[in-house]
Amino acid sequence: MLKVKNLHASVEDKSILKGINLEIKPGEVHAIMGPNGSGKSTLASVIAGKEEYEVTEGEILFEGEDINELAAEERAHKGVFLSFQYPVEIPGVSVTNFMKTAINETRKSKGLGDMPAKDMLKLIREKAELLEIDRNFLSRSLNEGFSGGEKKRNEIFQMAMLEPKLAILDETDSGLDIDALRIVANGVNKLKSKDNAVLVITHYQRLLEYIVPDFVHVLYNGRIVKSGGKELAHELEEKGYDWIKEEVNA
């Protein structure tokens, strides 16, 4: 589904990603871990198509197609979803209105007409229930005055609504208490299928107890320096990142 080959990217001439190789197949869950400043969030942004990042070398293939030249919304239409670490506020635009616009714009890109209101309502109800979201929440302005947990839950709600092929969860666990974490993780697990894939980006192992990865990669200084199964996450939890750094620097 996703193939990242020798990806180099920089922001404002500062090189951040220095040759990432990563392959994610349908049905897989990958986790990217690593110390602060290793380039985790940059990788997520570059895959999603954030403009500030310049790809200087390498390729990003999504379902066999090089998506590097595509605008962020075109990548979204193809099924790339990013759950933001810091979701932005859009005052005056309700969650419902935002989702309606997003879904209909995606449909438009596929030559479809607007989703009938009845179906939209049904979809919203169904997904809100899945994530234990209160109906009132949906009429609030997007992320405005939301608690950390509400913001993250809202991100996963949007993921549920848009049903992406590849979901990138950027530090979705940060700012969540244990109950919220469980709800969010359950939501993600329920949405998982053999046809879609999840890329979890996290600093801590905590989230991976709920969303169990098939592969764990350690990102350090712009490169994937170690890959393994879920036990690698436990090892990192126990020993921290220093031993990785030492190994790399040795």
Partner: protein, 482 residues
């Protein structure tokens, strides 16, 4: 990568062309340019006005001659040459028509381009239209329905002839002839406009609407509107404007007077889309308007405006809260793009006891435009327990535009409670990227963000107008992004 930066946004804002930029050639009956006592008399004569009206105009003209053009607003422009303007122009196809079939087909085609079909308007929205094209009303509808309720809704010229007692009593009572430079000019030369009277206790059953349109090269348009809501009555009045594209500056100096007698309510909504000039800032309408309402006891006046047009706007719909317990409201969205300049806001003058006012102003600036809010809240010594709440929010797009807020507060009564909140924000790349990531392209994202920002005010507009206004907001900024 298909990047979209602030620079692109700025670039694209420049290429936005005026949506309704076309010009209809209708044979007109136009006065020679220039202004003097004879021209004032000739206008009055042309309109077959009674002598008192001619005198009233001449008084205004005398005052105007002594006045100088104000320069305190935060706008820069080449002052109009008042001797280079023609002060009267009327479509030729007079007299008035009994049905739409009789109306100049070219005029009807113009309405069509604007998406205004009188028939449709009549049938679908139940809106009575008093269409003002180039200063003279050419079609009046729904008059009968309104007449049954005793509501008078006609051109001000007709009203001067048919209801002189009402016009004489109220014209200039809220905006006196000498009020300010442009009000004086308007009083002297106003060509036409609308008149509305709602009798005691009558709830006007439909939204009253007038479309204004400048349609003659070099013709300044001087509209005069007078709305009187008698005791305990209610009326919602809609005013919408579009104008054809023009190279030279056109002057628009309207006066609107609202009178809400005891327990009456007037809701006055405007969607204004005068030609703003081209991307280089050439051309465009000068919109120097005086709008003011007077509230008697327990009366309420709400001004709601969506301003997207004009090269230079200078406009402060105001409320004089004379009666005890009267209420004034001002809800405004002002969009400026390219080289547009807007200095707009309101005055809330609290004279009566327990008077309340609310001001919500949303300014959106793009391109190289300058957008100023200027508002005065005055509480006089006798206005016990006056309350005001003001909120002024500015949204900036790009780095070359400006947003300014000039709040003036004069409280001369210790019991007054006055609150003022102001925010300035910028459409961030993060917001746009967030929308992009959900599949919403940048153009749509900006429309979404702008509509969200403006929601508090859009919600105050009557339903059918809100849809139109939302469309207009999108048009004004949409071309802007590709």
């Amino acid at each position: 990568m298909n990047k979209y930066t602030e620079d692109d946004l700025r670039e694209e804002l420049k290429t936005k062309e005026y949506e309704y930029g076309f010009y209809t050639d209708i044979e007109s009956d136009t006065f020679p340019i220039g202004l003097n006592e004879d021209i004032v008399k000739a206008i009055s004569l042309k309109k077959e006005e009674p002598e008192w009206m001619t005198e009233w105009r001449l008084e205004a003209f005398k005052a105007w001659k002594q006045m100088t053009e104000p320069d305190w607003p935060n706008v820069k422009y080449v002052k109009p040459d008042f001797q280079a303007i023609s002060y009267y122009s009327a479509p030729n196809s007079k007299p008035k028509y009994n049905s739409l079939d009789e109306v100049d087909p070219e005029l009807l085609a113009t309405f069509e381009k604007l998406g205004i079909s009188l028939d449709e308007q009549k049938k679908l929205s139940g809106v009575a239209m008093d269409v003002v094209v180039d200063s003279v009303s050419v079609a009046t509808t729904f008059k009968k329905t309104l007449a049954e309720k005793g509501i008078i809704f006609m051109s001000i010229s007709e009203a001067i002839k048919e209801h002189p007692e009402l016009v004489k009593k109220y014209i200039g009572s809220v905006v006196p002839q000498k009020d300010n430079f442009y009000a004086a000019l308007n009083s002297a030369v106003f060509s036409d406009g609308s008149f509305c009277y709602i009798p005691k206790g009558v709830h006007c059953p439909m939204e009253l609407s007038t479309y204004f349109r400048i349609n003659q090269a070099g013709t300044g348009q001087f509209e005069r509107t007078l709305v009187i809501a008698d005791k305990g009555s209610y009326v919602s009045y809609l005013e919408g404007c579009t104008a054809p594209s023009r190279d030279e500056n056109q002057l628009h100096a309207a006066v609107v007077e609202l009178i809400a007698l005891d327990d009456a309510e007037i809701k006055y909504s405007t969607v204004q889309n005068w030609y703003p000039g081209n991307a280089e800032g050439k051309g465009g309408v000068y919109n120097f308007v005086t709008k003011r309402g007077l509230c008697e006891k327990n009366a309420k006046i709400s001004w709601t405006q969506v301003e997207t047009g004009s090269a230079v706007t200078w406009k402060y719909p105001s409320c004089i809260l004379k009666g005890d317990n009267s209420v004034g409201e001002f809800y405004s969205i002002a969009v400026t793009n390219n080289y547009q300049q807007a200095d707009t806001g309101t005055k809330m003058i609290h004279l009566g006891k327990n008077t309340k006012s609310t001001i919500i102003s949303k300014g959106i600036s793009a391109g190289k435009s300058q957008n100023s809010y200027r508002g005065l809240v005055r509480v006089s010594p006798n206005a016990d327990n006056a309350r005001n709440f003001s909120q002024c929010d500015s949204l900036l797009m790009g780095n070359e535009c400006g947003a300014h807020t000039f709040p003036y507060i004069e409280a001369k009564n210790k019991s007054a409670i006055i609150e003022h909140e102001a925010t300035t924000s910028k459409i961030g790349e993060d917001q746009i990227f967030y929308c992009n990531q959900r599949g919403i392209d940048t153009e749509k994202a900006i429309a979404l963000i702008v509509n969200g920002f403006s929601k508090d005010v859009l919600n105050k507009l009557p339903m059918e107008f809100a849809v139109e206004a939302q469309k207009l907001l999108e048009i004004s900024l949409e071309g802007s992004v590709g």
